[in-house]
C-alpha cells in the first residue's frame, strides 16, 4: 500500500510531473502558433500598407515607355490581381524568400541585403548587449549590496537619468565630443574604431534597465529566508553571493536578454543613421524613402521574425527555468 501523502510530497515522481510536462508542451504549442499568427498578420499589414502609398516604385525614374513599364510590372509580378499578389507574397515570405530589391534593378536579393546589413548590425548589437549585461549586472548588484548608501544613490540616479536621454541625443553629443572637439575617434564606421561609439550608445538604455532589474531582484533575494539561513549556518559572504543569491537574482535578467537583443537590433535605426554604419537599420530607413517595396517588406518581416523568435525563446526558457510560473 502506498504511503498516504506520497503523491503530494513528491509530485515529480508521480502523476504531477506528467501533467506538468503536458501543460508545458501545450503552452509551447500555443505560443508557437501565436507567433506564426503574428508573423502572418505582420506580412498582411506590411503588404497592404505599402499598397496605400500613392505612386509605384517606378514613378520617380525618367519617362519610361508603357511597354517597358509593363515588362517591369510583369517581372516583379505586379500585373496580377492584388489578392494573387498577396498570397504569392505571403507564401514566399514564410519561406524566407523576399524577392529582389527594385532599386538594384533586380540584381540583388533582399536576403543578400539583409545578410550584408546584419554583418554590421549583429556585431554591434551583440557587443552592446554583452556590455549592457556585464556592466548592468555588476552595477545593479553593487547597488543592492550597498543598499541605501551613497553608492546605491549614485548608481540609481545615473540609471534613472540615462533612461530619460534619447539615443539620438546621446549619439550626437558623443559624435560632437569625440570626433569634433577631441578628435580621438573617426566619425564614420569604416574600421573597428568607428564601432566604439555606436556600441556604447546602443548599450546605454538596456544597461539602465538591467541595473534596475538586477537591483530590485537582488534586494528581494537578499531579504529572503534562505539567505538568512545560509548566513546563520556560517556561510561566508562570497559563498552566499555565488551559491545562493546570484543564481536566483539573475533569472529576470536572463529572461530579459532575448528581447533586449532584438530591441537593440531594431532600435539601432537612428544610431546607425547618425554614425553612418551600413547596417540593417539604415538600410530600412533608406529603403522606405526609396519606395523599394520588396526591400521594405522584407526588412520589416525579417525584424519581426527576429523579435518574435527572441521573445518566444526567452518566454519558454523562463517557464522551464522557473517552475513557479502559472502556465494557465
Amino acid at each position: 500500500m502506498p504511503l498516504p501523502g506520497f503523491a503530494i510530497k513528491y509530485p515529480l515522481f508521480t502523476k504531477g510531473a506528467k501533467t506538468m510536462n503536458k501543460k508545458l508542451g501545450f503552452y509551447i504549442l500555443k505560443r508557437v502558433l501565436l507567433a506564426l499568427l503574428t508573423i502572418v498578420i505582420v506580412i498582411t499589414v506590411t503588404f497592404f500598407a505599402m499598397q496605400l502609398i500613392p505612386g509605384g516604385p517606378f514613378t520617380s525614374e525618367k519617362a519610361v515607355s508603357q511597354e517597358s513599364l509593363d515588362r517591369l510590372y510583369a517581372k516583379y509580378g505586379l500585373d496580377k490581381p492584388l489578392i494573387i499578389q498577396y498570397f504569392n507574397y505571403l507564401f514566399n515570405a514564410l519561406r524566407f524568400d523576399f524577392g529582389y530589391s527594385i532599386k538594384s534593378r533586380g540584381a540583388v536579393t533582399v536576403n543578400h541585403i539583409i545578410g550584408e546589413g546584419m554583418k554590421f548590425s549583429a556585431t554591434i548589437g551583440l557587443i552592446a548587449a554583452f556590455i549592457a549585461i556585464i556592466v548592468g549586472v555588476i552595477l545593479g548588484s553593487l547597488a543592492a549590496y550597498k543598499h541605501n548608501t551613497i553608492i546605491d544613490r549614485i548608481i540609481m540616479v545615473l540609471s534613472t537619468a540615462s533612461v530619460a536621454v534619447p539615443s539620438f541625443i546621446v549619439s550626437t553629443i558623443f559624435l560632437y565630443l569625440f570626433c569634433v572637439v577631441w578628435q580621438i575617434l573617426p566619425a564614420n564606421g569604416s574600421d573597428w574604431r568607428g564601432f566604439i561609439l555606436p556600441t556604447i550608445t546602443l548599450s546605454f538604455s538596456p544597461m539602465a534597465y538591467i541595473i534596475r532589474l538586477t537591483r530590485s531582484s537582488t534586494l528581494d533575494v537578499l531579504n529572503s529566508d534562505y539567505i538568512r539561513t545560509a548566513y546563520a549556518k556560517g556561510a561566508s559572504f562570497s559563498r552566499v553571493l555565488y551559491k545562493h543569491s546570484l543564481r536566483n537574482s539573475l533569472t529576470p535578467v536572463i529572461t530579459y536578454a532575448g528581447p533586449m537583443i532584438a530591441f537593440i537590433l531594431t532600435g539601432s535605426l537612428v544610431v546607425e543613421k547618425i554614425y553612418g554604419i551600413p547596417g540593417i537599420g539604415r538600410e530600412f530607413v533608406t529603403s522606405i524613402t526609396n519606395r523599394d517595396y520588396p526591400e521594405v517588406m522584407g526588412l520589416t518581416i525579417f525584424l519581426t521574425y527576429l523579435v518574435i523568435i527572441m521573445v518566444l525563446v526567452s518566454d519558454i526558457l523562463y517557464t522551464v527555468v522557473n517552475p513557479r510560473v502559472d502556465l494557465d
Binding site: 505582420v42 500598407a49 539620438f168 531594431t266 520589416t300 523579435v307
Partner: protein, 354 residues
C-alpha cells in the same frame, strides 16, 4: 472557602482591588480619540507629498505647462516669423544665426535711438527666427503629443480591457490573443512604416485636421493602433483581481447591485493603476515623437517640435552646439520629471506600500 494563595507566586492577583478599577468618566473621555477618517485619495496625496523628488517634478511640470501656454501670449516674436523679412524692405541677413542676446544691425540702430528691443534669449536660427520661442513652441507640441497619445491609449485600453474582463470566457480569450499579437510586434519598425505610409496616403488639405498636420495625426493613429495593448492588459488584470477580492464578495453578499459594486468598488480600485500608467505613457510618447521628428517623420516644416529642433541643429553642431543642447536638455528634463512623477504617483497609490 478561602482560596489558597501562594505568597511566592508571580501570578497576577486578580482579587486585589488596585489592579482593576471602574474607569471614571474623565478617563473614559480621555480614551476616546476622534481622528478624521482618511479617504483613499487623501492617503495617497499625503504619501505623494512625502516623496520630495516627485513633488519637485510635479512643480517643474506645472511650471513648464504655464510657460508654454503663457509665454507665447506676450512674447513679441512668433515661432514662424522670419525677422529678417519685412514687407516693403530688402531681406536683412543680419538677423540669421544670431548668438544668444545679440541683435541684428537694424535692431542695434533702433536701440541706440533709445528704443527697447526684446532680446533674443537663445539667439536666432539660420532663417532668422527667434530660437527661444521656437523651443517653447516645440515643447508645447511635444507635450501636447504626449498628453493626447496618453489619452488615446487610456480610452482604448480601458474600454477594451474592461470589456474583456467583464465578458470572460471565449470573448476574453479571443480579445487577449489579439492583444498578444499586437504586443509582440517590433514597435519601432511598425511605427516608422506606418508613419511613412500614413504621411503619403492621407491628405487632409482644406479640413480642420490640416492645421494639426498629417505627421502628427499619423503619430496619433500609430498610438491608437499599437500602444493601447499594455493598458488593456493592465486594466483587465486589475478588474479581474478586484472582482475576486473579499470586499467585493462582501458587498455582493449584503445585496449591493452590480452597478453599485462596479461604481463603488471596482472603478475606484482600478482608477489609480490606470491613471499612473497613463502618466508614464506621456514621456514614452514624447520620446517616440522626438525620435520620429529627428529622422524626419514627425511634425512638418514651420511647426517645431523638440525632436525636429534637435534634428535641424545637427548640421550646425560644430559651430553652434547650444542649438542642439537646448532642445536636448528640454526633452531630457521633461521626460525625467514625468517619469519621476509617475513613479511617485505609483508608490503613492499602491495599497501594498502602506
Amino acid at each position: 472557602m478561602k482560596k489558597f494563595k501562594n505568597p511566592l507566586s508571580f501570578q497576577v492577583d486578580y482579587d486585589r482591588e488596585s489592579i482593576f478599577k471602574v474607569a471614571t468618566d474623565k478617563e473614559k473621555q480621555e480614551q476616546t480619540f476622534m481622528r478624521p477618517s482618511t479617504s483613499f485619495l487623501g492617503d495617497a496625496i499625503r504619501r505623494f507629498k512625502r516623496n520630495k523628488i516627485a513633488v519637485v517634478s510635479l512643480f517643474f511640470i506645472v511650471f513648464i505647462l504655464l510657460a508654454i501656454f503663457l509665454i507665447p501670449v506676450f512674447y513679441p516674436y512668433t515661432y514662424d516669423q522670419q525677422l529678417g523679412i519685412q514687407p516693403g524692405k530688402a531681406v536683412d541677413d543680419t538677423f540669421n544665426n544670431l548668438p544668444p542676446f545679440a541683435y541684428s544691425t537694424s535692431e542695434q540702430v533702433r536701440i541706440s535711438a533709445g528704443e527697447f528691443i526684446w532680446p533674443h534669449l537663445f539667439g536666432t536660427d539660420q532663417l532668422g527666427r527667434d530660437y527661444f520661442i521656437r523651443v517653447i513652441y516645440g515643447a508645447r507640441v511635444s507635450l501636447m503629443v504626449g498628453f493626447f497619445a496618453a489619452i488615446i491609449v487610456l480610452i482604448i485600453g480601458t474600454i477594451y480591457g474592461s470589456i474583456s474582463a467583464f465578458s470572460g470566457g471565449k470573448v476574453d480569450m479571443v480579445m487577449m490573443r489579439i492583444v498578444d499579437v499586437i504586443y509582440s510586434l517590433p514597435d519601432m519598425v511598425i511605427i516608422i512604416l506606418l508613419s511613412v505610409v500614413l504621411k503619403q496616403a492621407f491628405n487632409f488639405e482644406g479640413t480642420f485636421l490640416d492645421k494639426v498636420g498629417t505627421p502628427l495625426i499619423s503619430i496619433f493613429v500609430v498610438y491608437a493602433l499599437l500602444y493601447w495593448v499594455g493598458m488593456a492588459r493592465l486594466v483587465r488584470g486589475q478588474v479581474l483581481s478586484v472582482k475576486q477580492t473579499e470586499y467585493v464578495l462582501a458587498s455582493r453578499s449584503i445585496g449591493t447591485s452590480t452597478g453599485m459594486t462596479i461604481r463603488k468598488h471596482i472603478i475606484p480600485n482600478c482608477l489609480s493603476v490606470i491613471i499612473v500608467s497613463a502618466t508614464l505613457q506621456v514621456p514614452s510618447a514624447i520620446f517616440t515623437e522626438s525620435f520620429l521628428s529627428f529622422i524626419g517623420l514627425g511634425v512638418s516644416a514651420p511647426m517645431p517640435s523638440l525632436g525636429s529642433l534637435a534634428s535641424d541643429a545637427v548640421s550646425a553642431l560644430s559651430n553652434r552646439p547650444y542649438l542642439l543642447l537646448i532642445p536636448a536638455i528640454f526633452i531630457c528634463l521633461i521626460v525625467l520629471a514625468l517619469n519621476l512623477m509617475g513613479d511617485g504617483l505609483r508608490d503613492a497609490f499602491d495599497p501594498k506600500q502602506r
